[in-house]
């Protein structure tokens, strides 16, 4: 019965206006955001333009720069943080300030006089031809030397503590610490990145990540409208009771609705990914690189499917239990919180975000470093989706038996007609 019902539900959705609006929105987003295919530029030895900037891997430099930053904010008692992505200026109480002071003392061995101890970075910026320095924020920053016996691991633990005191989202969060010191990339660095894109990512994987990054933005929200429409349709057409009284089990009914919505959300993505996939194959052919033909498919299933599953499940659950507008509102808020987490950092913001960001078709090493997080994250949302669907089936079943939601004959009218 499930497959027949599934087919019927798909047919119904294919006849609904909202599905086509949804498709139009997805396609529009794809065209305007993902845009045209860009090739990777191979770095050349001694090229005039710079090889770009990279986060410093020199631990002493990271520690120094981070401590200098912390000391500066401590002395002004004015900390910058992005707890939910929005700028927040944090002022600490006396006790908390004292805790930060303690951290600074433990890390530097100094009790005071931090400002005087800060010195300019020793590294010199590469000079351009007219011998002026290129100035970029965060590059070769001022340093506050750490205590000699401070290991990097202990330093990280202190910084995590400081971040907690400030309330999260500060420059001392373990994800952010590495970015406090930046340096110029060398030819070798640039070459490594380029090679990784070609041989580790086999071109298509990097492109697939960018694809998922953009499409994840719309899929983190829009599917909720499909879920809400499907749920409210029964009420709107007063078809609830006729369906309630049928033989089909609640699991079958809800699962058919859910999976048909999921199927019709994911299918267009496969179709949309055909163009960039073909471009990847063509580009790989030119360079003589073997392209991962299934990359887009794998990324869509691993990255976008759990996200869609969650958004739909949440939508079905809330619209069945609370009401359609509430489901939409909750999803909008979730979306906004998720999209602005990480502030301006758009590459490798994963954590427990519904919408992880990876707005770069290269940066293979960053991807590999967050891959574990990504897997855990997606598993979480897939699990939550299952949980919400179980909840939806339960509520539907209870409504069907008349335990929840209404009484006597006016039950339809007493609920909101929307």
């Amino acid at each position: 019965m499930f497959f027949k019902l599934f087919a019927k539900e798909c047919g119904q959705m294919l006849k609904s206006l909202i599905y086509y609006l949804f498709l139009a929105a997805v396609v529009f987003f794809y065209v305007s955001q993902v845009g045209s295919f860009t090739t990777y530029s191979e770095p050349l030895k001694g090229q005039e333009e710079s090889y770009g900037i990279k986060a410093s891997s020199d631990k002493q430099q990271i520690m120094g720069a981070t401590l200098a930053l912390l000391a500066g904010e401590y002395e002004a008692n004015s900390y910058t943080a992005y707890p939910v992505g929005f700028y927040k200026n944090v002022v600490l109480t006396k006790e908390k300030q004292e805790k930060i002071h303690q951290i600074l003392m433990d890390c530097t061995g100094l009790e005071e006089g931090y400002t005087d101890a800060i010195r300019e970075s020793s590294e010199e910026a590469p000079q351009t031809e007219d011998s002026s320095y290129i100035q970029i924020a965060g590059i070769n920053p001022p340093l506050l030397p750490p205590a000699e016996d401070l290991s990097y691991d202990r330093f990280l633990r202190y910084m995590t503590k400081a971040d907690k005191i400030i309330g999260g989202g500060s420059s001392y969060a373990s994800d952010n610490v590495k970015n406090n010191a930046k340096t110029y990339a060398t030819y070798e660095d640039a070459k490594k990145v380029y090679d990784a894109s070609l041989y580790t990512d086999r071109i298509s994987r990097g492109k697939a990540r960018l694809f998922c990054d953009y499409m994840g933005i719309v899929l983190g929200l829009l599917p909720v409208f499909l879920a809400v429409t499907r749920t409210l349709r029964d009420k709107r057409s007063m078809a609830q009771e006729v369906i309630y009284a049928r033989r089909a089990s609640s699991v079958t009914i809800i699962a058919a609705r859910y999976f048909s919505a999921m199927f019709l959300t994911i299918m267009p993505l496969f179709l949309l990914s055909l163009t960039p996939m073909l471009q990847c194959i063509y580009y790989g052919h030119q360079l003589g690189v073997s392209v991962d033909v299934l990359a887009f498919g794998k990324y869509i299933l691993g990255w976008l499917l759990p996200e869609t599953a969650f958004v739909l499940a949440c939508g079905f659950f809330l619209s069945e239990s609370v009401g359609g507008p509430a489901a939409i509102l909750v999803q909008v808020v979730l979306w906004m919180v998720s999209i602005s987490t990480g502030g301006t950092k758009l590459v490798g913001t994963v954590g427990w975000n519904l919408i992880p960001r990876f707005n770069n078709d290269q940066a293979t090493d960053v991807w590999l470093s967050v891959f574990g997080q990504m897997v855990r994250n997606r598993l979480l949302y897939a699990g939550l989706a299952l949980l919400f669907m179980a909840g939806t089936v339960f509520i539907y079943h209870m409504k069907r038996k008349g335990v929840l939601g209404g009484r006597g004959k006016n039950f339809i009218h007493r609920n909101r007609t929307l």
Binding site: S78, Y87, N89, I217, L221, P325, L329
Partner: protein, 206 residues
């Protein structure tokens, strides 16, 4: 006057309480999740643009919800008092609530010693809300489908997050973040026109 008052109260009690509660919750939650202290002009603008605009969708879009049911609509339409006026009264109610919440958020920011032009920002925030809400009302008028009416402005909002400025030009929502005020005049005007068009279309269709 009494009639107007009773229409307002009836609507408030029966249909609006949920939306109002959601909007109030969002306004009160703002300082918890965003920090409203010592913001400069652009950061304060970000809160209004990115966060407060959403209240326009929450409060304005469900304008026709009470008569979503066709029978109720026919019943109301057959009365002497024009349905359009009832809708306008509801709209007025929504706008007033929006203005109050707007002031609430602005005062919170002022108390937090943020620097921004109070009056200008009030109108700018209203313009954004009117535009998004107007888009919703217009869509509702055309499609008679509340979910679609929510979806269109929400998608517009997402687009502003994405490629936004390049495509949307003068109708780009998040312009306070870059200090551009001219956009708001366009947005506000378009919002009013969309709302009016939505109401006209809704009441013409029989």
């Amino acid at each position: 006057m009494e009639r107007i008052l009773s229409i307002e109260i009836e609507h408030f009690k029966n249909h609006y309480a949920g939306h109002l509660a959601a909007a109030l919750l969002l306004s009160l939650l703002a300082p918890v999740i965003m920090g409203m202290e010592a913001l400069n002009q652009y950061q304060a603008g970000q809160i209004l643009d990115v966060y407060f605009s959403l209240l326009g969708i929450v409060l304005l879009t469900p304008l026709f919800m009470p008569e979503q049911n066709k029978d109720i609509r026919d019943l109301l339409a057959s009365r002497e008092y024009p349905l359009r006026n009832i809708q306008l009264l509801r709209l007025l109610q929504a706008v007033v609530i929006l203005a109050v919440l707007n002031l609430l958020v602005l005062f919170q920011m002022k108390l937090g010693e943020c620097t921004f032009p109070f009056g200008t920002y009030f109108w700018c925030a209203m313009a954004n809300c009117l535009f998004l809400g107007g888009l919703g009302i217009f869509t509702y008028g055309i499609t008679d489908h509340l979910v679609i009416a929510y979806m269109i402005p929400v998608f517009y909002y997402i687009c502003c997050y994405g490629a936004g400025q390049k495509y949307l030009g003068k109708f780009y929502l998040f312009s306070l973040m870059t200090g551009d005020l001219e956009n708001k005049i366009w947005l506000g005007t378009a919002g009013i026109l969309l709302t009016a068009a939505g109401i006209v279309i809704r009441n013409r269709k029989k």
